[in-house]
């Protein structure tokens, strides 16, 4: 095999473990007719149909597999270019420098600590994350990475978050899935919030209705 290329394994060489039968829980049915309704708006006749369409994706991680396997084992794997030495996390399986001619990078273990570059305090998010509101989305430079990675920063009082604060990585003790959601950031224990400022008071006030809303939301689920 050409050593400058990522290997393309043959299907015959895979030993697939049987998938847990997801489709018993989430049956795939394709186009499923559900509903129809109609009416008149002004003098315009209208009709609407609700049609359910579903799909189950398989993400095949390929060259990124070591990264995902690392997460399963509670490790953060980034990449390092053997030519220029650039380290990136999230990983890049080929170097990003045009001068390095797409050099295949090496896997390196990243420390479980970093510096927060920027953040936002989310008062609204996608459905899967609503119950976590208000949460902090942080861009963090892990170890010596030249790229920042986005993930959740868990902190009791989000208005205290600040640029350049040191953070640590925590892995879930529950079932890991080899994805970003297996870990999150927390303030480094050595870090202490600075005193309240008018901006912090303002953010705290903006968060109040979010806490109220989430209480109601949690009750209704």
């Amino acid at each position: 095999m050409e050593k400058n290329l990522h290997p393309t394994p043959n299907n015959k060489d895979f030993i697939w473990e049987k998938w847990i039968k997801l489709n018993e829980k989430i049956p795939e049915k394709g186009w499923t007719w559900q509903n129809v309704r109609s009416g008149i708006a002004g003098n315009v006749e209208w009709i609407e149909q609700q049609i359910y369409y579903d799909m189950l994706y398989t993400f095949r991680l390929g060259a990124l597999s070591p990264y995902a396997k690392g997460l399963l084992e509670g490790k953060l794997l980034g990449t390092k270019c053997p030519k220029c030495g650039d380290i990136t996390f999230p990983p890049r399986v080929n170097c990003w420098r045009l001068d390095c001619n797409l050099e295949i990078t090496e896997w390196i273990e990243m420390p479980h600590s970093g510096i927060l570059h920027t953040f936002t305090i989310c008062g609204f998010a996608a459905k899967s994350a609503l119950k976590k509101l208000p949460f902090v989305l942080a861009y963090v430079l892990v170890g010596k990475s030249k790229t920042a990675i986005a993930n959740i920063l868990k902190i009791a009082e989000p208005w205290h978050v600040e640029s350049d604060m040191p953070v640590i990585v925590k892995f879930t003790e529950k079932k890991r899935v080899g994805n970003l959601i297996d870990f999150w950031f927390e303030p480094d224990p050595s870090w202490h919030p600075s005193p309240m400022t008018p901006e912090k008071e303002r953010i705290k006030k903006l968060c109040e209705p979010v806490y109220e809303w989430i209480k109601i939301l949690k009750r209704s689920i």
Binding site: H117, T118, T120, A126
Partner: protein, 422 residues
């Protein structure tokens, strides 16, 4: 070999933008073409058949519950045998489709190229819709967090805010400006259709937290609609709209990382602009594409607003509009803080920005958005505001040079165009 030719815009129109719009895509687009027939009586699709192509501008097949949805449109318009293709470039789909039409006419491969953009977004629930849009972020990483583009943009805005000492009020000024400009635009603008009245900076400040520093009124809303821009060569421009045509004198298209965190020290940018740029707070692809477009038009990037009379830019968020000012070189001789406090982008300011309402006021049906910005800029330069808008409160009188900006991802693809009244 075909010869290079100058490129013009001889007409343009949009459907109303709303959510949902309750229309099928073929009637949306047919309405646009029939409106063009009315506004530009000399234009006919037969010219496209004989001398042209069609560039379709459409972002998401997820939303359209249909692959290659433009195939439905093309034969619906009576066109077979006419070359067609579709551009998808995220939020910069409209700008990129315009760029493609520009390139085709410029290269002499076609003489009349309508750019037809559309987006259905009310085909799914709002939360599913945000998720569909978030699928344009890296699904192996960012999208899995349950965050969406508003959250990413807020993170980028916050570091920009910190860098330049800006406040939430500075952004709220922009949000209120665009909502209020849309009130003058009228029936086609989503804010006028849905809310109908003006908002104050206080209204923006008091609206609910979406993602700090963004509140509800700082953000554009999901919308549906279609837009068409009639791109052509000089001969057709003079034939179609002798009194109402503008020239595209500059066009730039650039790109940046899909994951915003990856541009912290990307070699492609540090080699061009030096260490520390763009970081996460600046839109380097906006600066770069603007520099390209400005150079073609003989405009300097630094303080470029001095050469421009009007700008229609991609204000998905009030904060990103501000970041665009900076990327366009408008805050070089004065600080960003002074730029907004001097009310430079307001109707009465030096460079009225988004007089049509922008995405915040007019709406953001992705595939149609960049074309809407183009149409609004065209109306200003062609002196058509009194014909097209509810009131002339948002008219920039005697505007001669305008800028159109279209913007995607977290700044991942950005185009800029300079239009000039002929």
């Amino acid at each position: 070999m075909p010869e290079q030719q100058k490129v013009f815009i001889a007409g343009g129109t949009t459907t109303p933008f709303d959510y949902p719009l309750n229309l099928q895509i073929e009637e949306m687009v047919a309405n646009c073409i029939r409106q063009l027939y009315k506004d530009v009586p000399e234009f006919h699709l037969k010219d496209v058949r004989d001398n042209g192509m069609v560039v379709y501008s459409h972002f998401s097949v997820h939303f359209s519950h249909q692959l290659t949805a433009y195939w439905i449109l093309h034969d619906h318009l009576g066109l077979v045998g006419v070359p067609h293709f579709r551009i998808d470039n995220g939020g910069n789909t409209g700008g990129s489709a315009l760029y493609a039409a520009y390139a085709l006419v410029r290269a002499g491969l076609a003489d009349v190229v309508p750019v037809i953009g559309y987006e259905l977004m009310g085909s799914v629930s709002q939360s599913k819709g945000s998720e569909f849009i978030a699928i344009a972020s890296d699904t192996r990483y960012e999208a899995m967090l349950g965050a969406n583009y508003t959250n990413y943009y807020a993170g980028l805005a916050r570091v920009f805010m910190e860098e330049y000492g800006l406040t939430e009020e500075d952004f709220a000024e922009i949000a209120a400006k665009n909502k209020n400009n849309a009130v003058a635009t009228g029936e086609k603008a989503q804010h006028y259709r849905k809310v109908g009245n003006k908002l104050t900076v206080e209204d923006v400040m008091n609206s609910r937290l979406i993602s700090y520093p963004l509140k509800k009124w700082d953000c554009c809303f999901m919308s549906e609609g279609a837009a068409t821009v009639l791109v052509c060569n000089e001969q057709f421009a003079k034939q179609y709209s002798p009194d109402y045509y503008v020239e595209i004198v500059g066009a730039g298209l650039s790109s940046c990382t899909i994951r915003a965190g990856d541009r912290y020290a990307f070699p492609g940018w540090t080699e061009r602009y030096g260490e520390g740029y763009p970081g996460l707070g600046e839109f380097a692809a906006c600066r770069h594409s603007a520099e390209v477009a400005f150079k073609m038009a003989g405009i300097e990037w630094k303080d470029s607003y001095k050469y421009l009379d009007v700008a229609e830019v991609h204000d998905a968020f009030s904060t990103s509009e501000f970041q665009i000012y900076n990327a366009l070189g408008w805050c070089q001789s004065i600080t960003p803080k002074q730029f907004i406090r001097d009310r430079m982008p307001m109707m009465e300011g030096e460079i009225p920005t988004n007089p049509g309402g922008g995405l915040i006021g007019y709406g953001h049906p992705v595939g149609a958005t960049g074309l809407m910005s183009t149409v609004e800029c065209y109306y200003q330069l062609a002196g058509l505001i009194s014909r097209e808008h509810r009131s002339t409160d948002n008219e920039v009188k005697d505007a001669e040079v305008g800028l159109v900006n279209s913007h995607a991802g977290t700044g991942t693809s950005i185009s800029n165009f300079i239009l000039k009244r002929v």
